[in-house]
Amino acid sequence: MADEMPSDLDIDAAAGDAPLLELTGLDVRFDTPDGEIHAVRGIDLALNPGETLAVVGESGSGKSQTMMAAMGLLARNGRVAGSVRYRGREILGLPSRALDEIRGARIAMIFQEPMTSLDPLYTIGSQLAEPLARHKRLGARAARERAVELLALVGIPDPERRLRAYPHELSGGQRQRVMIAMALAAEPDVLIADEPTTALDVTVQAQIIELLRSLQRRFRMGIVFITHDLGLARHFADRVAVMRYGQVVEEGPASQVLSRPAHDYTRMLLASEPSGTKAPPPEDAPVVLEAQGLDVTFHIGGGWLAGPPLEIHAVDRVSLTLKRGQTIGIVGESGSGKSTLGRALIRLIDGKGDIRLFGRPVGELDAAGLRALRRQVQIVFQDPYGSLSPRMTVGEIVSEGLRVHEPELDARSRERQVIAALEDVTLDPALRNRYPHEFSGGQRQRIAIARALILKPRVLVLDEPTSALDRSVQKGIVELLRRLQREHGLSYLFISHDLSVVRALSDWIMVMRRGQLVEAGPTEDVYEAPAAAYTRELIAAAYGLSDREQAGRR
């Protein structure tokens, strides 16, 4: 480790052809109560000036921890070994005071969670001023002026006024822009972006990527782009490193790695991009579920002395017809009302409007009628960690519906049905005495599907069932859903923000925005020739056919 502090001159002299950032034999371990976890296993990576290096991998591949370790940001229980050089100078193991001369000033990092990455208690202006004061030694007035410039640079409208705003007053995309502005405050030459767009809606995602790209050209930064999304890597990166189990399995130019992969794992990742299409059900297929002018309004706040409540129109006069064997994909960004629509259709949320199941209205059902409805219509949720009761065994979870609807069943036949349901979703029935926390995300989602299917419903509402899963796991669930639909003649309402999954699974698509239906039609027609401008924007953003004009706007 270098003891002598090279002056700025040395750094610039070394800048020629040496990599900006070079990791050699980087190794990260975590001590946990359940033993040691070897998260990163001796990897080598290098970033050249002006280059974008995408580090791709699924969750648990160690891609984030690699960069956290390089920045000296590991959690307390982490240990790191190897070497991290910035312009030839060793920075691993530097005391934090010395490291703080480099972090933020030379190498900056931005994170996935725009909601929590900014301090909620300070204004944007005050947070932007901090790195300026620290690294640029700017006074209050100068920092303020520079902050306005930075906000303008990252495309925040009305930057003067926005300086006084608090993070919670900004949208997710704007917060991520502020985060980028803070990172750029000291004009670093390396930017590490850890899944910077994952928590954002696709249209916002496209804008942020476009912003990063233009800033990179302007400042000739090297960018390390950590992502799970191969599509993003393909559009954004010059070079790609694929990580798995803490190792780099393949590295090379983006075009080569992502079109002619050498390693099986990369091939598998590429193959797990959703593919295939769904044929529409026969014309004369019976209508299963039907809704006319469905309307859901939420009342927020209000009460004695607090004034009238705030009214939010979550679903605004939406109609749909679901046939036997059909899959309707409902797409939209967060807040579009797509989940509310799904829940209102199965009466988990009360709405106004006419809902018919097999031609019978379900809007005014009493408790008994509602129970009968529950048998026919089931739901699978997004979060495989939150949707299984943590204190029940898998067997108990899957059999809960039977206890309600077939209380006369004895324990043995209930057990038999649980085994069958688990086998149906290709889970080992021997595991039915285990608890949810012992399963992976994909396995949990299969358990949730088994729980819904044990009652042999006719309609399944799938609320983002694949959104929390890695692509390779997602692929398994998509195939499972296809098979189950074929075998049981199910009808699906598939709710998702992920356009490629929806395209692969559904034969009819509904696009929603702010509670209203923007467009509906056969999937391929809508994807090939979207009628509404919003749909076009959505598809452009999702498939990276980015239209400058649209992406640069806002």
Binding site: L73, S96, D100, I110, L118, E130, H135, H168, L305
Partner: protein, 307 residues
């Protein structure tokens, strides 16, 4: 903001009314009366006394009378300390109790916070364990153990301080009562602050600050501490109300002429007016400090908005 304060004060009125009503009837339903325990009181004298104090009127009448008096700021006479009105007792005693309580509160907040921050920054190291052990001790050893132990060691054995007495408010007389009052609070504040700081240091925005090279004290003080103050503030409100209205144990052991002593005796002797007066005073303190807490909250956390 001003509208919010007004609205809160307005909603306090029904709360206070309910508390007064509840306490009034609870107190009256309880067996016994203010003059039933005094020995040698002939039935005539007792009846006489009750007539003087209008205790022979129907209960609802007495209740309405009391409410009317209360509205005029009249807490009535004390039955068991017949030379004083309840207001007199508070006028003399409350400043003493408030003085002690405020000193203890400030001591607890400052010292407790410092200990808690130190522990959080040294998490799972010797300093942390020391603070945790101290905090556990502070919150488990009852005041009625600490107070006599303090007297035993510092007054009787070492003779550094007087055993008891107010001494006209001399500093040396206040050390014992303030320490005894503060110790459990120091412990609780230290624990709260430790937990809050650990939580705050884990926040994502702290990671952001570190990643941008803003390490060191800026992170601890500017970003972590401000967030960690919130639980301390919500604790300090009720604690202040409790401390400022006096403590039975401390005032009895150290012979302090505050208002804390009255309550237990008054309740046991059915000194109705004195009990009611204390209940009202405590309730007002609780309501006011809860309001202050909410206002401080809005000051620290911009996400909290009252309008």
């Amino acid at each position: 903001m001003i509208r919010y304060v007004l609205r809160r004060l307005l909603t306090a009125i029904p709360t206070l009314f309910l508390i007064v009503t509840l306490s009034f009837f609870l107190l009256r339903v309880a067996p016994g009366g203010p003059f039933s325990q005094e020995r040698g009181l002939s039935p005539e004298v007792k009846a006489n006394l009750e007539r003087v104090y209008q205790l022979d009127a129907p209960l609802w009448r007495q209740y309405l009378n009391y409410l009317a008096d209360l509205l005029h700021g009249n807490f009535g006479p004390s039955y068991n300390l017949p030379d004083f009105t309840v207001a007199d007792l508070f006028r003399v005693g409350l400043p003493v109790s408030v003085q002690l309580g405020a000193s203890a509160l400030i001591l607890a907040l400052v010292l407790g916070s410092v200990l808690g921050i130190v522990a959080a920054l040294r998490q799972n190291r010797a300093g942390d364990y020391a603070v945790v052990a101290l905090a556990t001790a502070g919150s488990t050893i009852p005041t009625f153990v600490i107070a006599p132990l303090y007297q035993l060691v510092f007054a009787l054995t070492l003779a550094w301080v007087p055993v008891a007495g107010w001494g006209g408010g001399a500093f040396i007389n206040k050390i014992g009562p303030v320490l005894t009052l503060a110790l459990p609070q120091i412990a609780i504040v230290a624990r709260l602050m430790r937990g809050a700081m650990i939580e705050a240091l884990r926040a994502n925005h702290i990671r952001t600050a570190r990643a941008l090279g803003l390490g060191g004290w800026s992170v601890v003080v500017r970003h972590a501490l401000r967030g960690a103050l919130l639980p301390i503030i919500s604790y300090a409100g009720p604690a202040a109300a409790a401390l400022l209205t006096g403590s039975v144990v401390v005032e009895t052991v150290f012979a302090i002429p505050g208002v804390g002593r009255y309550f237990v005796d008054a309740a046991l002797n059915r000194d109705y007016t004195l009990v009611m007066g204390t209940v009202v005073v405590i309730a007002v303190f609780v309501i006011v400090f809860n309001l202050i807490v909410d206002l401080l909250y809005a000051l620290v956390d911009p996400r909290v908005r009252y309008d």
